[in-house]
């Protein structure tokens, strides 16, 4: 609880924005909330709604959620070392609450307390706290969103949110190159059918990233 509490400051407003944007984009409030329960991944929920509202096919929207959330594979790979002894059922349940912030804090905690036996309770704690915050925040956003006038242009909060997420990586030149590659290709392929630029650009950018990795060695 205590380890994760600083993240509430960002997760709660982020959830409110996510809920409000969903309503602003014209989606049924129940569907916007259902996403928080079913997908439970902030950034991917916003992208999903934005793509569908812009006329993307469901296939493209679902695929982009998969790409955005593929980072969980990395978290899982790191965490599995500490969760090895748990039963399959426990592993399956615990997986649902793995989120960025919970991973970051629990991973720090695990490294410090390698020898303890009940480490996974820390992950359950951070994950469930984030889950509850996220549900309450998106719900409040959905309610608030119905009062926000359209002239405010709340949609602009979408790119701003993602700027906030990646801005610290501007310190690393390799990340900057990957970001520019992705950004420019998204503009270049913006007219591609079914909004597929959202998939084409990350693929190109990840290819550039793997080239960069090769150069580094």
């Amino acid at each position: 609880m205590l380890d994760i509490s600083p993240h509430m400051l960002s997760v709660i407003p982020f959830g409110i924005i996510c809920g409000a944007i969903g309503v602003e984009l014209g989606f049924n409030p129940y569907l916007v909330y259902a996403m928080s329960f079913i997908i439970f991944g902030g950034a991917s929920q916003i992208v999903f709604l934005q793509l569908l509202s812009g006329g993307a096919s469901s296939f493209v929207a679902i695929t982009s959620v998969g790409i955005i959330n593929s980072r969980h594979l990395l978290y899982g790979a790191v965490l599995s070392e500490y969760l090895d002894k748990l039963s399959l059922i426990k592993k399956l349940l615990i997986s649902y609450v793995i989120v960025d912030q919970g991973f970051a804090e629990s991973n720090k905690f695990f490294k410090k307390n390698r020898s303890e036996e009940y480490l996974h309770y820390h992950l359950i704690g951070t994950g469930c706290t984030m889950w509850v915050c996220w549900q309450i925040a998106t719900l409040s956003g959905i309610i608030l969103g119905s009062f926000v006038p359209e002239e405010l242009g709340l949609k602009f909060a979408i790119p701003l949110t993602f700027i906030a997420i990646v801005v610290q990586d501007l310190k690393k030149i390799d990340h900057v190159i990957v970001m520019i590659t992705c950004g420019l290709s998204s503009l270049l392929f913006f007219e591609a059918p079914f909004k597929s630029y959202i998939i084409i650009s990350p693929v190109i950018a990840l290819f550039v990233a793997s080239l960069l990795l090769r150069l580094k060695k």
Binding site: L9, P13, F14, I17, F27, A34, M35, I38, I39, F48, L52, A61, I62, V65, G66, I67, N69, S70, R71, H72, L73, L74, Y75, G76, A77, S80, K91, L92, I94, Y96, G153, K155, F156, A157, I158, P159, L160, F162, I163, A164, I165, V166, V167, Q168, D169, H175, I180, C182, G183, L184, S185, S186, L187, F190, S201, P202, A205, L206, V208, A209
Partner: protein, 105 residues
């Protein structure tokens, strides 16, 4: 229809969370793949940022003096130094509102 897509997206997301923990042993994912996965945020999110700023609701490029460009620049600067997600979003929104409601109106 949208609900069905949401459910599919949810299942896919759950799989990304669960696969490495429950199904495969961790050594299956090579160091190379892990290193590339580190770049996922940088490789994905600019595809939302760039069009969100440079392309308007009608699908055409904006002018260079558009308030969104200014708002985004403010957000980058504030975000870089404050390391605070909410401060970043608010700084961008407020400067954008200042331009559209005070300067351009």
């Amino acid at each position: 229809m949208t609900l069905v897509s949401i459910i599919f997206a949810g299942i896919l997301t759950y799989f990304t969370r669960m696969t490495m923990v429950a199904l495969i042993s961790r050594d299956m994912l090579g160091d190379k793949v892990k290193a590339v996965l580190e770049y996922v945020p940088s490789a994905v999110f600019p595809a939302i940022i760039f069009p969100g700023i440079f392309i308007n609701d009608f699908g055409t490029f904006i002018e260079m003096n558009d308030p969104k460009i200014f708002g985004a620049l403010v957000a980058v600067i504030v975000g870089y130094f404050s390391k605070n997600i909410i401060a970043t979003i608010l700084a961008g929104l407020v400067s954008y509102w200042f331009l559209i409601f005070v300067i351009f109106s």
